[in-house]
Each structure stands twice: as C-alpha cells, then as structure tokens.
C-alpha cells in the first residue's frame, strides 16, 4: 500500500523491539467484544489510477459553472484566480505545514498571516483583523457573540438584507444562551431606517452591504444611532471585491466588520472551504475571537512574528474563551493574500470597476426586456430582477439552454411568496459579452 512504508519484515522487527508477539497485543485495552477481528466489509484498497478514474467519473456527473453562461452569486462569486496562486499554495511548506505554534519553524506562515491581517484591515477600513475564521456566516455569529461580551447586553438586531445563511448561523450559535435575535423581515425598511429599533438593551445591529439583494447602504447615520445607545454596528460584506470600489465599513463607523473572503484567491468548491474575515477597532482587540499574529523580535533582534494574545483562546481560557474555535482557514487565507498581492491597489480597483461596469451594462439590457424589472437603484456586481413568473421555473428552463441565470430567491426563502418572482443576478469579470447576450436573449424568448 503506497502510503504505508512498513514491510512485514519491518513490522516484525518493531514488534520484537516492543516485546510483543502480535499487533493485537497492543490493542489489549480494547474490550474483546469491540475489537474487530477482520477488516470491515467495505471495498479494499485501490490504485491511484483506479481512484482517480472513479472520482473523475463522479465529477463528470456535475456541470461545472465555467461550462455554462453563469450568473450565480448570493454569497459566493466566481472570479478568475491567477495560476500563480494555486501553484504557490501547493508548495509543500505551505500545504503540509502545521499551525504555527513553534514560531522558529513557522515564520513562513506567520509572515503571510501578518500580511493577510494587514490586507483585511486595509480593505475594511478597520484597525485590526484576525487570522481568519471558517467563513463569513460563522464570522457573523462570532461578531454577535463578541458584541454580547463587549456590551454585556442580550439582544441583536439583524437587518432584513442580511444573507439568510448568516442569520441562521447566528441564530443557531445563540440558541442555548440568554440572547435574543430580532431578525427583521426582508420586506421591512432599509437599513438606514433601522435606527429607531436600537435601545439600551441592544448589543449590536447587523447590516450587510451590498446586501442580499445587491443594494448598497450608507451606514453613517445608523452607526451614530447605535453609538448613541452604546450599541455596536456590525457590518457584513459577502462580496469582498466590492471593497475595491465602495466606501469601506470602517469609514462609515463600523465597530466590527465580517466578510466572506472566498472571492479573492479561492475557487467556488461547491460551498467550502471558504474564508471568514473578521476586523475590529483597536480597543476591542482582546475580545476578538480567532487566532492573531503579532510582530516581535528574536534573540538576535531579527524581526519576526508569533501567534499572540493566546489567552483569549480555548486552549488557555477553556470555558472562558472568546470562542471554541481552534483552527483558522490558513491555506484559504494564503490564497487570498497571494491573489491580493498580485492585484495590488490598482488591480483591485480595476477589477472592481470591471465587475461593476459589466453589472451596469447587463442590468440595463435586462431592464429593457418586457416584464423584467431591475429592483435596485444601487448595486455592485449583483442585482435583483422581478420576473413576470416564478424565477425558479425560469432558471430551470434556462439550464436547458446552457445558462445558469442566477439564484432564484425562492431557493433562500422557500416559504415567502413575495420572493417567488425574484431572481438574483451576479456578474463578474469571468462573464463575456457572449454570456450576457445569451442570458438576455434567452430571457426574452422564454418570458
């Protein structure tokens, strides 16, 4: 078996050195009735060729997004990742390295984590960021728990434009502690009108921009309203490329910013692994969950990096930890860091403008179609259409024409009839003019 170095001779020699006659002598503590005497009745080992063949056949039973004209978003976006990114993250020393608990042999990892934390702070306009979390949705839940700790209050308001997965993950996270979630309905007011809901019991108000429907929000007034009442403003960003074009939440008064970083450096991967970004103000740094990398020096005065402020974390504070989280999303953070290093200031801004420009052009063409209404006055690279009949049906019909037209909102809100006719359409730099024309023409024909 190609992954196991021992030959039968080796095993004999090892047993002899131990003083055991049979391998099961080493399993002597297992209750006899529980020790399996034979391998389980499952397929035996297979060659690399056979495994590759089986999994390739399985992969061929799905339709990759790139083989169709695709306009899916709703929290995960298809962007072009330069070839250098995937090559670099597959270097052994990045791919197969452990968590950097021994800094003398982990300066590679720690160095890029420090760069990553800086990039996230810059993008979001905040003071500090952590070394990443599982994804945007769990980062959102962690932000609410952090607001709970900081303010010692028991209530959070979730604005109606928050991605339902983020709302659900947050509700799940607090269900067994004394904490109330006020989840506003999607048909309710814009984020800007939420100010009146904040009171002295509110730990935080959570707003997404661009929101689920693609609308952009100016949060300055809401930030002031929250701060007046001693509450925190948590801002969620699910399409991080938008930060290349739009005023960052930090400039609008956010106290905590959480985001999904998948758009930069990471493939869609059918939903995971993704990359949670988490940033906050300097004064809250000790209440931040997750790993943190900090600068220091070694014995010879050489600048280096270490994991720091570990006393917040589970392995030290145990039941008083800021979170039970142990891992971050290391390799995904590296991919983000490398891609963003390649893009730089001008590249990210240009990428954002290309995305927005394609979306504006597409929205205008779609708005010209009979029966189709673009609901957004503002958007980045994603907007909501109202169709004359249920969007889910239309999407199914267009699959037959090799088009993935968008995410019908009924997929995310199956019990809300007001969503049935709504379609979320996202477009990125990976869509061509032909893709856009195909979508417009197909809709014209089927509607």
């Amino acid at each position: 078996m190609r992954y196991l170095p021992h030959t039968p001779v080796d095993r004999q020699a090892l047993l002899a050195a131990i003083g055991a006659e049979d391998i099961d002598d080493l399993f002597i503590d297992v209750p006899n009735q529980a020790l399996l005497k034979e391998p389980l009745d499952l397929p035996i080992h297979a060659s690399e060729m056979a495994v590759e063949s089986a999994l390739t056949a399985m992969a061929d039973r799905s339709v990759p997004m790139g083989s169709m004209a695709s306009f899916l978003g709703a929290g995960a976006y298809r962007h072009h990742v330069p070839a250098a990114v995937d090559h670099l993250i597959q270097r052994s020393e990045f791919l197969t390295a452990y968590t950097p608990y021994q800094p003398e042999v982990s300066q590679g990892t720690l160095h890029y984590l420090f760069e990553f934390q800086t990039q996230v702070a810059m993008l979001t306009g905040m003071d500090v960021a952590n070394a990443s979390m599982y994804d945007g949705a769990t980062a959102c839940a962690e932000a609410v728990l952090m607001a709970h700790r900081v303010t010692k209050r028991d209530k959070a308001i979730l604005c109606g434009g928050l991605h339902p997965h983020y709302r659900e993950a947050t509700e799940t996270a607090v269900q067994f502690i004394q904490f109330e979630i006020d989840a506003r309905s999607t048909n309710s007011d814009e984020a800007e009108d939420m100010a009146g809901l904040i009171d002295g019991d509110t730990a935080c108000i959570v707003v997404q921009t661009p929101d689920l429907f693609g609308r952009l929000h100016d949060l300055r007034a809401l930030a002031d309203a929250a701060h007046d009442k001693g509450a925190l403003l948590v801002v969620v960003v699910t399409e991080v490329v938008s930060l290349g074009a739009v005023t960052p939440p930090g400039e609008m008064g956010a106290d905590i910013v959480v985001a999904e970083g998948q758009s930069i450096g990471n493939a869609l991967n059918f939903g995971g692994p993704y990359l949670g970004l988490f940033a906050t103000r300097q004064k809250y740094v000790r209440q931040m969950p997750g790993r943190l990398c900090g600068e220091t020096v070694d014995q010879e005065g050489r600048r280096g990096y270490v994991l720091t402020l570990s006393t917040r974390e589970q392995h030290i504070r145990r039941e008083k930890a800021t979170s039970n989280i142990c891992t971050n999303s290391g390799l995904c953070a590296l991919a983000f860091c490398i891609h963003l290093s390649l893009l730089g200031e001008t590249g990210l801004r240009q990428l954002a403008q290309v995305n927005h420009g394609r979306a504006v052009a597409l929205a205008d063409h779609l708005a010209d179609l009979d029966g189709v209404e673009v609901l957004n006055s503002s958007f980045f690279n994603e907007f909501t259409l109202r169709l004359p009949r249920p969007a889910a049906e239309v999407v199914e019909e267009l699959v037959g024409r090799n088009i993935l037209a968008g995410v019908p909102l009924s997929r995310l809100y199956p019990s809300n009839p007001a969503m049935a006719d709504l379609l979320l359409v996202a477009t990125t730099e990976t869509n061509t003019d032909e893709d856009a024309a195909a979508l417009v023409n197909a809709l014209r024909e089927v509607l």
């Binding site: 080493l26 009745d41 495994v51 929290g75 160095h111 997965h165």
Partner: protein, 507 residues
C-alpha cells in the same frame, strides 16, 4: 579561517536563507501583477458610495509575488520535509492524488446554489463519504456540515442539548475529564452548560468510580476522548456509556484520536452517542498552516433528528439537498444551520480519495502501523524518558518532565533543541494531568529508518539534559534562520498589522 559564524554579506541574505520583507515594503505605486480589461467609462450605480481614500495595498508584479512567497515558504517546516511527532494532531502524509482530484472542475468549479440536477456528482461525493464514515464508526447517521473539529464538537453537544430540551429537561452540567482539550469546556459554555471535572486514575484513564459519583440528574452529558489524550484506550468505556445512559445523559466522544482505531474498533460498538471526526487528522486532508479543516459528526438514532441542516438525501432516483427545517422534510427538530452553504466540499473530496485508496484493509493496516510506531517510540525511550503510564499505548506515547527534575532543562527547552535536530517539537504541556507533558504521535507514515533517527536524536538530547547541560538547551534552537522569539513583547505591545511609516514633516 572563515566559517558561517564569521562571514557577513552585503545583502543580508545568508546563502540559501533569503531574507524577505513584507509585501508592503516592496510597493511600487501603479504596479500590478494581473492584466485586466479596461473598465467601461460610464456613470456608476454605487449610490454615492464610491471609495475615495486609497486602500493602501502595495503594487507588485508576478515575478516579485512569486519570489516573495517562495522565500517565505522556505522558512516553514512541513510534513513533506520531516517528522512532526505532534500528539493529538496526526501529522500523516498528505497524498498528492487528493490535491489533483479536489481540483477537478466537476468538484471545484461548482457554485453551491446551482440547480440540484446540475450537481448530482458533488452530492454523490458527499453521500459516498458519509456512508464510509457511518460504516467505519458503526453509527447510524452523520452530519457533514461542521467546518472543523471544534465546530463538530459544538454540533455534537448542541444535538445533545436539543434532544434534552425536546424532553423538557435540558439539565445543567457536562462532565469533562481533567485531561480534556480546551475546546471541550469552551464548547460546553456556548451550549449553556457548566462543566465539572472527572479526575484520572493512576493508570491515566478516567476514574470510573469518581465519574459514577458525579452522575446526577442534572448531568446532560459526558465528553470523553477515546483513545484519551494520554494516548490510552479507555478500557472501561462500555461500562461508562452504560452508566451515563442509565441517568438519561448522553455520551459525546471527541474523535481527534480516531487514527488509532479506524478499522479495528467501531466507536458505535462502545456505546457513544455522537463523535466528531477530524478529516484533517485521521483522513489526511492537509493542515495548510492552520486550516481549513472539516469536522463531520456521527450521531446515534436518538440524536439524528436534531442534526444540522443542510443535509444530502436520496430523493427518488437522485440526490437532493435539504436546506430548511420542515416537518415534511423530516428536519423539523434540526438544531439549525451551522455555517454558510453545505460544508467543506474541498476537504470531502480529499478525504474520500484517501479512503478509497486505502480501502477497509488499508485503513485497518494504517491504524495498526500508527499504534505500532507509537509503541516503538515508547519502548525505545522509556528507559531514559519518564513515561507517564505503563504501556501499551495507542497511537501516541505520553512522557512527562519528571526525568528532567533538577537538570534545569524544561520540556520547552528540550522541544526547542529538537528543532536543530530536524524535527518539529512534540505536543508540549498537554494534557495538563502530568507535569511538562510530552505527547509524541509518529503516525503510520513514518518508516522504521525515520523512527530510529528520531529516537536516536531524542536519546542524545535526553543524555545531554541529564548531564546537566541546561545552558545549551536554554539557547536552542541555534541553527534555524530565526532564534527564539519574544512572545512576551508580542503580548505586551501587540502589533497586529503593518502601518505605513509616519512621514516627518519637513522643517
């Protein structure tokens, strides 16, 4: 005569040790490593929220970026380079086939919200892996969505609480051994429980009599790791499970150490109610410098109704995703959604490739080799090093610092000296039940030659420590590009990001 200690260079590099600054220090404004189309020159729809201030990101070309990250990579140890005897981490070989198949477009280029009929292959992958995990553990159900081990632990304990709440009796206490990993009490707190500790006996196992004394009607669950964090199989585990069940409580098993028993023991046969698995430990998905992981949780019948959404189900001829709580979908009692989308698909592909490659016979052989290797280390070191408990051990061997008493050498110092010998340090100061713990887990990936080299180095270091050479140890490591780093300074004056230098105003 010139040597490494006396030769200095102009560049600050040192042969193949190439120093590298931060990307922010390599900036040239306007430079870019990606070519993009010209954006259209048209009015925007950003609602007046255009970004005005610069972001501050540096501009580099592709050659510079590649060189930067290649240089960084050379300052990392990695399993591909050498042995990590890290107890509880299972640093086994990461097969490259896993990387190849994970990148097939039919897995990697799928949007999670594509129409379900266009992603049948992906759902099949998840379902196939789920079946293997169910059969390997002997449990009836599995929740695939948790993103990591700690997340899986949270999921498991939440299903327990949900099950108890459904009976109107949530209870208050979770029992945790003193040897438990820190995630256990942290998780219990998030579920609204307080913990009570159960001591270990002098054989390193849970003190069953002490446990039974603590089994009161207000106990919701016990959280046990098996094999435990001392590397030992809890031989009274069936009795423990029965006692826990007799008071209506549940048994959560931390599956971090599953590598010792895959194909040899099914945790379901031991009486557990739920167990998380670490795909990045037992099933070879790469550690990636700290993630991503994946933590599916196997569940007993009593807990299965509370499993999180979404889940993959068979539906007529094909597979479907159940994404909401509803009576007609059988998920009315689900504890809810744990994260965005469906789970760590990229890690599922890798884990399944590993499982299919090994098969039932290979997985069983891997566990046997893992246990064999750990016992070999125990046998060859225990004369000199103080083994905390008599053997045999499972897949990891526990030593403590009692043999270093009066030498002036600590576990930490010994660990730092291992680095110069070409090994990553073992797990140190965990579990907390012994002083200065040294937990060594070689995994099945190490050859006898590799083990012998490791053992010889450890014995050499042990001899040197016992000879009282504490000054040598206090200064280790000597041969790495970076010497010991000042963690106190990093914690006292945290600097968590680069800042642009302050430009002095011209006088």
């Amino acid at each position: 005569m010139a040597g490494p200690e006396t030769v200095t260079t102009n560049s600050g590099h040192s042969g193949l040790d190439l120093a590298e600054p931060l990307i922010f220090e390599l900036d040239s404004p306007g430079r870019c490593g990606v070519d993009l189309p010209e954006p259209p020159d048209a009015p925007n729809r950003l609602g007046g929220l255009e970004r005005s201030a610069p972001i501050g990101l540096p501009g580099l070309s592709e050659p510079q970026v590649v060189r930067h990250f290649v240089r960084l990579s050379r300052n990392n140890f990695a399993i591909d380079a050498g042995l990590y005897p890290l107890g509880s981490c299972t640093m086994k070989h990461n097969p490259r086939l896993n990387e190849k198949v994970a990148r097939l477009p039919g897995f990697a280029d799928l949007h999670p919200l594509q129409p379900v009929e266009t992603v049948q292959g992906a759902l099949e992958l998840i379902d196939t892996l789920a079946e293997w995990l169910i059969k390997l553990t002997g449990m009836p159900a599995v929740a695939m969505s948790p993103a990591a081990g700690a997340h899986g632990e949270l999921c498991g304990l939440m299903t327990i609480r949900a099950a108890l709440e459904a009976k109107g009796d949530p209870r208050e206490v979770v029992l945790v051994p003193t040897s438990a990993h820190g995630t256990n009490p942290a998780t219990a707190a998030i579920c609204g429980y307080r913990i009570e500790q159960i001591p270990a006996d002098d054989r390193g196992r849970v003190d069953v009599a002490a446990l039974k004394e603590k089994l009161a009607p207000n106990v919701a669950a016990i959280m046990l790791t098996n094999p435990n964090t001392c590397g030992l199989f809890e031989n009274q585990i069936i009795e423990i499970a029965e006692a826990v069940h007799s008071i209506g409580a549940y048994f959560y098993c931390d599956g971090a150490n599953f590598n010792a028993i895959v194909g040899k023991v099914r945790p379901g046969d031991l009486g557990i109610d739920c167990m998380h698995l670490n795909l990045h430990k037992t099933f070879s998905t790469p550690h990636g410098g700290g993630g991503p992981g994946s933590g599916p949780v196997v569940l007993a019948e009593a807990l299965a109704p509370f499993a999180p959404i979404p889940m993959v189900v068979r539906d007529g001829d094909g597979l479907n995703l159940v994404e909401r709580k509803a009576d007609d979908l059988g998920t009315a009692e689900s504890l809810g959604r744990l994260k965005g989308f469906h789970g760590q698909m990229g890690m599922f592909v890798r884990a399944l490739a590993f499982i299919l490659s090994h098969g039932a016979d290979g997985l069983r052989q891997a566990s046997e080799d893992a246990v064999l290797n750990a016992n070999y280390i125990l046998a060859r070191l225990q004369g000199m090093f103080s083994a905390s408990f008599p053997g045999p051990c499972m897949h990891e061997a526990l030593f403590d610092d009692s043999f270093l008493k009066d030498t002036g050498v600590s576990t930490l110092d010994l660990a730092k000296a291992m680095i110069d010998e070409g090994f990553h340090p073992m797990t140190m100061y965990f579990p907390l039940v012994v002083s200065g713990a040294m937990l060594m887990e070689p995994t099945e990936s190490e050859s006898k030659t590799s083990l012998d080299q490791f053992i010889a180095s450890m014995r050499h270091l042990g001899e040197r420590a016992l000879a009282g050479d504490s000054e040598f140890f206090a200064g280790a490591p000597y041969l790495t590009p970076y010497r010991r780093l000042d963690e106190t300074q990093a914690a006292r004056k945290p600097v968590l990001r680069w800042q642009p230098p302050v430009v002095e105003a011209a006088e």
